[in-house]
């Protein structure tokens, strides 16, 4: 038997705008209240982590996820809470640190941060940043964030925000640095950066065969060695939905997935999603975790092993789904998928 206590399982949302059973969209405000309920319910269902990804659109009305996380923190005691992701390039690292160390205080040490770009680009024009500066902004701000995490006065100078001279940044954390990850979507140079700064590696996998990222985990381990750092964890994030049967999960997920990707395709100028591709992505080799608890659990276990990852975060739901179907998905994920993945990982040979 393998010790599976090392594995943790999370849920992520982008504040996907809910709909009523009739299909009528719910308000942004009701969606946010529902996200808080989903976070509280995730703890009851046995989920280890609840993450909220920053977005600024009508279908993902969730620009201030840390406020929602604080509301969840006040009503829970065990589940860890974090961003998934914080768009650091268009934010101020000092403010991000302050918001998440406040969340860490409210939750008695349960806060995490995942830094990245995400698939969202709306924050750049909104806050007056040029997307062409993305790399420079991210690199400099992530470096400052690593300094802030150490605690104690910070001295720092760069081009993207005013310098800090022996600046005490509050609130101080009680239990050391907030666990921080960098979200990576396939760029190996970002893997090197995560290792250099001493952040966990969050592999955000939204298409194609997740197993192809296995060399990235190895790259991360080797880069940590090169930078003289101890081991740090790898997490895998992927979208999906759990329902009683494969058919039901697909029937609830596909029309909403199709709608949102059709909308995004029109906005960004790429071709509409096809049902054939969706079926492939939902199958054993793809990146969508849509299906029954058994189907999803097998796929998670296979991919955690392939990637040498110890955490899996399911980005659950899609805009236009009902709060009820999301709650059912959360319950199945917590009560059936997670125990089943642990069972599969414990009883089968771990090949990393």
């Amino acid at each position: 038997m393998t010790d599976t206590s090392v594995y943790t399982f999370g849920l992520d949302t982008f504040g996907d705008r809910n709909a009523a059973a009739s299909g009528t969209p719910l308000s942004h405000a009701q969606t946010i209240r529902n996200v808080v309920e989903e976070g509280v319910f995730a703890e009851q269902a046995g989920v280890d982590f609840f993450g909220i990804g920053e977005h600024h659109t009508d279908y993902f009305p969730m620009p201030a996820g840390d406020v929602a996380l604080a509301a969840i923190a006040a009503r829970t005691s065990r589940i860890r809470l974090g961003s998934a992701v914080t768009v650091l390039s268009s934010d101020d690292p000092v403010r991000v640190f302050q918001r998440y160390s406040t969340l860490n205080a409210i939750s008695s040490g349960r806060a995490e941060v995942i830094l990245g770009r995400g698939s969202s680009i709306e924050s750049f024009p909104l806050f007056g940043y040029d997307l062409a500066d993305y790399e420079k902004l991210f690199d400099e701000k992530a470096t400052l964030f690593a300094e802030l995490l150490k605690g104690g006065p910070v001295t720092w100078e760069g081009k993207t925000r005013p310098a800090l001279l022996n600046q005490d940044v509050v609130p101080h954390t009680e239990s050391g640095p907030i666990p921080t990850w960098i979200g990576v979507g396939g760029n190996p140079e970002s893997v090197i950066r995560a290792a250099r700064l001493g952040f966990g590696l969050a592999l955000a996998i939204i298409g194609g065969n997740p197993a192809r990222f296995a060399p990235y985990s190895e790259l991360f381990r080797r880069a940590l060695e090169k930078f003289g750092r101890g081991p740090l964890p790898v997490l895998m994030h992927a979208p999906g939905h759990v329902a009683a049967t494969d058919e039901q999960a697909k029937a609830e997920f596909w029309p909403r997935y199709r709608d949102i990707f059709t909308l995004v395709a029109a906005e960004r100028g790429f071709a509409n999603p096809t049902v054939d591709r969706f079926d492939w992505e939902s199958g054993p080799d793809g990146a969508l975790f849509v299906g029954s608890p058994e189907t999803v659990a097998r796929k998670i276990a296979t991919n955690l092993r392939a990637l040498g990852a110890t955490r899996f975060d399911l980005k659950y739901g899609m805009p236009g789904m009902t709060h009820d179907s999301l709650l059912t998905g959360i319950e199945l994920y917590g009560r059936e998928v997670i125990p089943r993945v642990r069972e599969l990982l414990a009883t089968q040979t771990v090949a990393v």
């Binding site: 680009i121 750049f124 040029d130 997307l131 062409a132 993305y134 790399e135 979507g185 396939g186 760029n187 190996p188 140079e189 893997v191 090197i192 939204i206 298409g207 194609g208 065969n209 192809r212 060399p215 990235y216 190895e218 790259l219 080797r222 880069a223 090169k226 395709a265 906005e267 960004r268 100028g269 790429f270 071709a271 509409n272 096809t274 990146a287």
Partner: protein, 238 residues
Amino acid sequence: METRQRQDRYPDSKRGRLGILGAGHIGPVVARLALGAGYPVDIAASGDPEDIALITELIVPGARPRWASDAAADADIVILAIPLHRFLDVDPGLLSGKLVVDAMNYWPASDGRLPLFEDSLSEDGAFEDGAGTSSEIVARRLAGSTVVKALNHIGYHELEDQARPAGAQDRKAAGVAGDDPGAVEVIARLVDQIGYDPARVGGLAAGRILQPGGPVFGVTLNLPEFERVVQEHTRSLT
């Protein structure tokens, strides 16, 4: 006559050395596919090859990490696999006399706007008939090089998963556009050898069909489907 000379200048039966500029999303994927097809590959990022030594060893084993200038100088085919805004920092002299594959995209919705490329798109970000394509703008900047547009319209998530050997029933097509027929043939062969049926769509101006907003951007189709979609699209514009 000129075509013939150029064909002689390019590797014909043998697989020439690829110099891939860019070790981010698309560069390593193309490098792996090309290595698998028997091409020798050099790969370069913006700085010291030492910075990408680990990436090369683990993500593109078999390739050589190089300085960009060395990778370009030794290459028979240079592949531009960098964000378009970084292209503006590339010294055109490095690529002079080279066959260059433009695998980049002007994609404001994903990467932000660039003034130099604004006229390759219409106001609402869709491509517009009659405006210059991004590859024509690239080619004007690289006046001493021969530019072919390819490997830009299939997402890096899919490019590797969907590669198939010639003749496979589920093989997909990948577009190739260029003004120099000899150069187009060399790149069509490369596309074929790394796993796709080459779809020759015409010159760099016709390459707009491969751009963001075009009918095959971000989608993988087999060759008959690809040709049908391109024809339908062309008809819809007339």
